[in-house]
């Protein structure tokens, strides 16, 4: 782990004693969690608390930032630093926060409306800049906090209070957008999935913007939206778990796979030993990731896991590097340097005193 008290982060000495190991419950705040009973958010909160404890985060160095919406209440339930900002704008906050203090572990919690409707623009720019932050997108395909209007990820034709005859909007696909925006870590899981903790652990270890879409059930306004993908009996046949370097096999009996005919994917039944014809997952292959992002249930199994990952310089690091480079080249500027930079000139007293002032 990096030294946490570098730069101007703090002037007090780092304690010599070994820090106590924190457990998941140490990250729970004293506030009552106020999501609806049965909401998928509870499972995600538990998973996150486990992940931050297991990955050795310190409470004081961890910051949760959110926008507005059900998911965005998240920071209140974490005993870390937190900021519940304004609708759609969390990416701006995390960028400023990381530029000012690159040492912090920052998580951004958002939803399908917050992140891809009102804040869609900001999300693209966060991803392309590759700010070192873990983005958790709770996608429940509905507006919960405003009581049940369709969201930008709702399926076309969805009947809601604001669309009694069905919604007309073609839905946006967060994973596709994240990949197209230059995201360096793009993954997906569900609130009920065994892979959720693993995906988030990998995300937290990734240096750069890690983007995790979590399919989350809103049991009040959009119950069962992901039932086939999360139901005990249907899950294995509806979901494709992506594993780097492994063939794309799925199904309860592990008897189905994905292969490519030309550049078109197709589902095939496999017999033992027939896995060599299948597509092997490669997290570093952007083209493959783009193709996988377009696969959705029921035409295809829904891919879960890490779609794509790449190493790229993080934005706040580049910003700091330019400061360091300029300082190395020009020396640390002092106030007197600043005041005297540019063209200065000295006026002596009474240089022109022989001239009359008036016509």
């Amino acid at each position: 782990m990096k030294k946490r008290f570098g730069r101007r982060g703090g002037r007090w000495p780092v304690p010599e004693t070994k820090l106590p190991v924190l457990k998941a419950k140490d990250f729970a705040s004293d506030q009552d969690v106020k999501w609806c009973p049965g909401c998928g958010d509870y499972a995600i909160l538990n998973a996150v608390q486990r992940v931050v404890a297991q990955t050795g985060h310190r409470r004081e160095n961890t910051v949760f930032i959110s926008g507005i919406g059900c998911s965005s209440r998240f920071p209140y339930y974490m005993d870390t630093y937190g900021f519940h900002s304004i609708h759609g704008r969390a990416p701006g906050f995390v960028t400023g926060l990381k530029i000012a203090n690159p040492e912090l572990d920052v998580w951004m919690v958002t939803g399908d409306g917050d992140g891809f409707s009102i804040g869609g623009n900001h999300m693209m720019h966060l991803l392309r800049r590759n700010v070192d932050v873990n983005v958790l997108l709770f996608n429940n395909r509905i507006y919960g906090l405003t009581k049940g209007q369709y969201s930008p990820t709702s399926e076309q034709g969805k009947k809601t209070k604001s669309t009694p005859m069905g919604s007309l909007d073609f839905p946006i696909d967060p994973v596709q957008v994240a990949l197209a925006s230059g995201g360096t870590f793009v993954a997906r899981s569900t609130d009920k999935d065994r892979g959720l903790t693993d995906v988030m652990t990998q995300a937290s270890k990734h240096r750069g913007t890690s983007f995790c879409e979590v399919y989350q059930n809103c049991n009040i306004f959009n119950d069962g939206a992901y039932e086939p993908l999360t139901g005990k009996d249907t899950r294995e046949d509806s979901v494709l778990y992506l594993e780097h370097g492994k063939p794309m096999v799925f199904g309860k009996e592990r008897d189905k796979g994905l292969r490519l005919i030309g550049n078109r994917p197709e589902v095939v039944n496999i017999t033992s030993g027939g896995e060599d014809d299948l597509v092997f997952h490669d997290e570093t292959n952007l083209t493959l990731a783009m193709m996988l992002a377009r696969l959705h249930y029921p035409e295809f199994p829904e891919p879960l896991g890490v779609f794509y990952r790449e190493e790229r310089e993080v934005y706040e690091g580049l910003v700091s590097a330019q400061v360091d480079e300029a300082t190395a080249k020009r020396g640390a500027g002092t106030l007197d340097d600043l005041f005297n930079a540019g063209d200065t000139y000295v006026l002596d007293q009474g240089k022109d005193s022989t001239h009359g002032l008036h016509d």
Partner: protein, 666 residues
């Protein structure tokens, strides 16, 4: 007065008589690609170095290159340089340099009768006369040439010089292409003006070498410009077109080291100074917008002062990023102009709610909507005061001159960090682009800005905050005597807390929907801002503390108001002026000051926004002089308004609007 002609000098070597002047106002005008801003800037630099007080007014179109030759494409730069203290770029122009017919058309009405008008005769072609929109001559397909109008030569000292042609002759062997040759015309014209006002060329020559030879590695271009500059100067000396030349002696300026500074430069330097004095990194988050972009341009190369700049994807992200910077414990600043301020509104409300320091710079321009991007106005005062949802008070202050932008920025940052409040700094296009000499300060002139950050703590031994719910956790909304809450930085053990836009319980900072708490917090947010006034100087009065009329101003019109009031007092009138630097909270003695005068006049470049506040808050029958022409006040306009007030001829109008430089009752 006869037109000066191009006759050869009668007695070579004779120099025309030199007339000393207290000040002179000159204006360069040409196409927006003609380099008029550069010529004007060079003249300003030279005059400043010569020891004059200077004030400038650049005036350029919003379009980068409006169609050449049209009035819409004319760019102007006005300089007032003086042997005395001046506060404005001048009401009337003493010498106009018009590089084409459109420039003459756009600017001739501002030249004083008898003033010098130098025109680039080569450009008065049929095509250019048509482009400039001069009327057709009856029965022909030609457009009227103003140079043929005898009235022009009678009214002004008209000097016709074929600048384009003469410049081409000088540079025929320069190796530059025709376009490159013509781009040196501005230096030719500048050389001529230097001669007319007895100014040395060395400063400009040095700058040309610096820019083209050293920085851009174009030595041929540097040489060509210098040759044009010298040719213009020599032409003045030998052509004997001018009956007199002028000299403006050095002003009685305190000796010392100076630099010329624009408002935007000064403001940027003030931000850096604040960050160094507070031992913080400055992170300036902005989205490009006229006329605020130059602050970003100035700060971006200052990284070796620990400055970080972030060009965000939009205004909202820029403001949010600056709040993120503040939360991290550094100095977060965002800058914009009117339309951008509207976009930042919700985020500013969050900064108010979370009680974090934030500095929002608004370089005002003509509105509403996109309005007049390159023209000045003061019409965002009410937006700054109230343009957010809810009862959402912010500290608002406004600088009074280009150099004062430095002090105002330093002050804005200090207040924001020491009082944990967002602060709005209201500059304007006139201050931002205008320039004046600035006595270079020393670092030792400034005290460090003391900022307290809470130290790390153990959960177990944390003190419960006084009078509030006790508990082991840090409570972010406890307050000191100034009602200021602690600025706890992430990374501090034991300081974990959550902020947000939902109403907070005073003390604990937990989300609270309690009705009494909301009322108390609304009161506290206002009281905290009001308490800032305890730490601010009282309103100063220019003139006696009581009398017939107080002229109350804010922001950019300070110069025009001060000059007008001083002149009126010299004429024996009981009139004083005051500059309202702090618009929220207002100085504690303002109410009493207003009572000490029989009348109050508020000149502002908007539809009476400060007037509304003063009338509402102090129940004073303040009258307004309102101008929204994209231009600063003329001193004369303010004088006329004062005269109307003092003579009792103003009548019942709440406000008067100047038209064509005159203020009169409708």
């Amino acid at each position: 007065m006869p037109t000066d002609t191009l006759e050869p000098p009668a007695a070579p070597g004779d120099t025309p008589p030199r007339v000393a002047r207290t000040n002179a106002v000159i204006r360069f005008a040409g196409d927006s690609g003609d380099g008029m801003q550069l010529a004007g800037t060079q003249f300003t630099d030279t005059s400043a170095v010569a020891g004059n007080d200077v004030a400038t007014l650049p005036d350029y179109p919003a379009e980068i290159r409006a169609p050449a030759g049209t009035v819409a494409g004319v760019s102007g730069f006005q300089i007032n340089f003086a042997a005395e203290d001046i506060y404005t770029p001048g009401d009337v122009v003493h010498a106009l340099i018009a590089m084409n017919p459109a420039a003459l058309k756009a600017h001739i009405q501002d030249v004083e009768p008898g003033g010098t008008v130098i025109v680039n005769e080569t450009e008065f072609t049929k095509t250019n006369l048509k482009k400039a929109g001069y009327p057709l001559i009856d029965g022909t397909r030609d457009h009227a040439n103003p140079l043929d109008d005898p009235e022009l030569a009678q009214r002004y000292k008209l000097v016709k010089v074929p600048i384009t042609k003469l410049n081409q002759e000088v540079l025929k062997d320069s190796g530059l292409n025709p376009k490159g040759v013509n781009r040196c015309r501005n230096m030719w014209a500048l050389g001529l003006v230097y001669w007319l006002f007895d100014r040395p060329l060395d400063n400009t020559i040095k700058n040309l070498r610096e820019t083209f030879e050293k920085r851009k590695n174009l030595p041929a271009v540097a040489e060509a410009n210098i040759r044009s500059l010298r040719a213009g100067y020599d032409f003045g000396e030998t052509a004997e077109l001018f009956p007199v030349t002028y000299r403006v002696p050095q002003a009685d300026i305190a000796p010392g080291k100076y630099r010329k500074i624009t408002g935007n430069e000064a403001l940027a330097m003030g931000l850096i100074a604040a960050s160094r004095l507070a031992d913080k990194n400055l992170v300036y988050c902005s989205y490009p917008i006229t006329p605020a972009s130059d602050i970003l341009h100035y700060l971006a190369p200052q990284k070796h002062y620990g400055v970080k700049t972030f060009q965000a994807e939009d205004e909202i992200a820029a403001c949010c990023a600056a709040i993120g910077v503040s939360f991290a414990g550094q100095l977060g600043v965002t800058g914009t102009s009117g339309p951008g301020l509207a976009l930042k509104g919700e985020a500013m409300g969050l900064a108010v709610m979370t009680e974090l320091p934030l500095v929002v710079v608004n370089v005002q321009r003509g509105g509403p909507s996109t309005g007049l991007p390159t023209k000045t106005e003061q019409s965002d005062l009410l937006q700054a005061m109230f343009g957010r949802n809810g009862d959402c008070p912010m500290v608002v202050l406004a600088p009074q001159s280009p150099a004062d932008c430095f002090h105002a920025a330093l002050e804005a940052c200090t207040i924001a960090m020491q009082h944990m409040v967002p602060v709005l700094l209201l500059s304007d296009g006139y201050l931002a682009n205008g320039s004046e000499p600035w006595l270079v300060p020393q670092a030792s002139d400034f005290a460090p800005i003391e900022i307290d950050h809470p130290h790390p703590r153990n959960h177990a031994d944390a003190e419960p905050p006084s009078g509030e719910a006790s508990g082991p956790t840090f409570h972010p909304y406890t307050r000191d005597a100034n009602l200021v809450r602690p600025w706890m930085r992430p990374g501090t053990p034991g300081g974990e807390h959550r902020l947000g836009g939902l109403e907070k319980q005073n003390g604990t900072g937990n989300v609270s929907y309690d009705p009494q708490n909301h009322q108390e917090m609304t009161r506290l947010r206002a009281a905290k801002v009001a308490k800032v006034a305890d730490h601010l100087p009282e309103l100063e009065i220019n003139g006696p503390p009581e009398g017939d009329l107080l002229v109350l101003g804010w922001g950019g019109p300070y110069g025009s108001i001060t000059t007008a009031v001083n002149r009126m007092r010299e004429r024996g009138h009981a009139v004083s002026s005051a500059q309202l630097r702090y618009l929220n909270p207002m100085p504690k003695n303002l109410g009493q000051v207003l009572k000490n005068f029989r009348g109050v006049l508020i000149p502002e470049l908007n539809d009476g926004q400060l007037r509304l506040l003063i009338r509402g808050r102090y129940l004073v029958d303040a009258r307004g002089l309102n101008k929204v022409q994209g231009k600063p006040f003329l001193v004369e306009e303010v004088e006329q308004a004062i005269e109307l007030m003092l003579s009792g001829e103003w009548g019942d109008e709440e406000a008067l609007w100047p038209e064509r430089g005159a203020v009169a009752r409708a």
